[in-house]
Amino acid sequence: MSLVKLTASTLAIAAVSATAAAARDNVQVAGSSTVLPYASIVAEAFGENFDFPTPVVESGGSSAGLKRFCEGVGENTIDIANASRAIREKEIEACAAAGVTDIVEVRIGYDGIVFASQIDGPAFDALEPADLFNALSDKVLKDGEIVDNPYTKWSEFNADLPDVEIIAFPPGTKHGTREVFEEKVILIGCEESGAFEAMVAGGMSEDDAERACISLRTDGKAVDIDGDYTETLARIDANPNGVGIFGLAFYENNQDKLKVATMSGIVPSTESIASGEYPVSRPLYFYIKKAHVGVIPGLQEYASFFVADEIAGPDGPLSAYGLVSDPELADTQGLVENLTTMGEGM
């Protein structure tokens, strides 16, 4: 019976598995879906120009990537974690507990976060952080008092904004973008509009006030998007008055469908973000497991190639795609060259 043959071949496969699992010749990367496009552009160019195989880049989110990064040292753990935020103290501890002690932190540049609406819809060209706070927060300051958000139209608190219903699509809480949105827009807006002061004056502790500031309204005017930017885009497509939150690179790829909103009068672009004029941006990182350098072929070369001027510099392909290049790139290059681990250089 062929059953015997099949069983034999299965055993053969199992036998090979023991030997094949011993050598990995490609770099494995996982982490933030914001960094994924940049990492895949670099991986592609790396594979073309070097004799090493193209690194495998997975997405799945910064936290998931760092968690896998911290699983330990060895062939079946990843070599590099991409992250759209800095590694947390708790994660460094988790890493250390699993034996991952030498981590090289590489900042590759900055990612802008933009507000955009449908191209045929009304223009939001007088947006301030305070407006977004008033539009989206659960509790706002009105006539000197903290009240449940009563606003239904943008023009009710800023006459320069369009007279249309408020509807916004912020990213869901599992996104790294959400954190930046809360910290750099809503919280600032909370302070600028005076709501923060009023809350503290009303007897709240500062931490409680901060938390109250960033809790968004739940009456259906702020719709959390747990999917990716393509889902936000679909919502904007269906909603002429909707305002969505996107990464700069995503907006630049969909300029024919989206109209970008200015923030405090500044149009977001790689230049205005690099100069710091446009306030809403965040650094992007990747983390190298130093113990894998020299074991996994091409790891050091990939990292150096990533931060090389011709890739991550202002005229490189990453910048062309929407990454705001880091003015301190030269320092980063040195850091990768010497594999300065976290804690050493500081």
């Binding site: 895949s40 495998v56 799945g60 790829n253 024919d256």
Partner: protein, 454 residues
Amino acid sequence: MTDAIAQTPDEPRRVDVGSLMAHDERTRRRNRAERRFQLYGLTAIGVGLLALVVLLVSILSQGLPAFQQTFITLDVHLDATKLDKNGTRDIEEIKKVSTFGYAPLIKAAAEAKMEELGINPEEFGVTGKDAQAMISKEAAAQLRRFVIANPDRIGDTVEFEFLANGRIDGYYKGRVTMESAERDSNVSPGQLQLADALKQGGALSKHFNWSFITAADASENRPEAAGIGVAIIGSLYMMIVVLCLALPIGVAASIYLEEFAPTNWFTDLIEVNISNLAAVPSIVFGILGLAIFINYAGLPQSAPIVGGLVLTLMTLPTIIISTRASLKSVPPSIRDAALGVGASKMQSVFHHVLPLAMPGILTGTIIGLAQALGETAPLMLIGMVAFVREFPSAPPEGFFDPASALPVQVYNWTQRADPAFVERASGAIIVLLLFLLCMNMIAIILRRRFERRW
């Protein structure tokens, strides 16, 4: 009726049964109910068909353009001073020139082409850099691969067919228009006009694109170069693993359970568990696979072997259930006859029952495989949702190389920012549907041809 009985016998009984040709009220009501029911059924089928048609039309209309691509033909002078400065033709020296070093050659070739066709890009307000941007970034890589493969051609002028940039390509597919180009900083109306001029000059053409099927995935900078080659191979490898593991294990388990096992609480328990496993959400198998195959057994991530093992677990219940059903449908008289002429229990099963049940078993297996082919969720957890450019090597080593899979590729592409990937995702769906259709067709043919009815 009581009236009729009360009537005197000499009067004829007059029960109004009506004519057989004309329906009475009650019959008409019953007939109406039947017609209504048929209508409900037809409506249900109609809704189903409509949904199918809408789905197919939307996928086909979005996905079919992915099989066509716009190409620009250029004569590239492989400048020896740039590619091999020392003139040694040493392959290691040539390899040192990165793809960035090849970009100027393409730019020069594009300028030469336009001059040859008498096109002045300035007329359209297109700078030299913008004109170069109309050619895919893949072109430099294509050129470098050619030079490394044929170092002796350095110094010659060679004709190349380069992919056009995704937005130029989108213009010929209706995705990009003059109006949208006006708003888009990635492409200008001038570039589109220039593309039209090139098309008239014969340097730009659109034709079938094999590389969509054979090439690997590409980064977001060059959607035009992305293909599903790695995904097809990854899916194929996984299906081989599933077939080699799930079929023998599933068939052996079902033969034992159906023909040999005693009926007691233990086999009942197994039976209930198998039926339950068939209904377990597939992501659960992914979690299991991550814990057992990767973390415990130390198998590599993103590898088809792990995907295949996980999908095997998922497919086993389907195969066992269908195999048991087809074994059960073989009439007992066959077994009795075999036993009656002196065959052992095992001979009766392997010589008589199993061959008769084979068409049913294969059909069940193919349907199980088709299910596994379209599965994405468990693969996300074992690292197959990844950007993979390298083709896995031939089996069996290839089972351990990183690979992608067709449904995963679709999922990946729908998340990308560039709208050109939407078209490619739909194209990949078409290929996936074709595979599923073929598998189901084989299942039907097997059933039609070999199934015996009693």
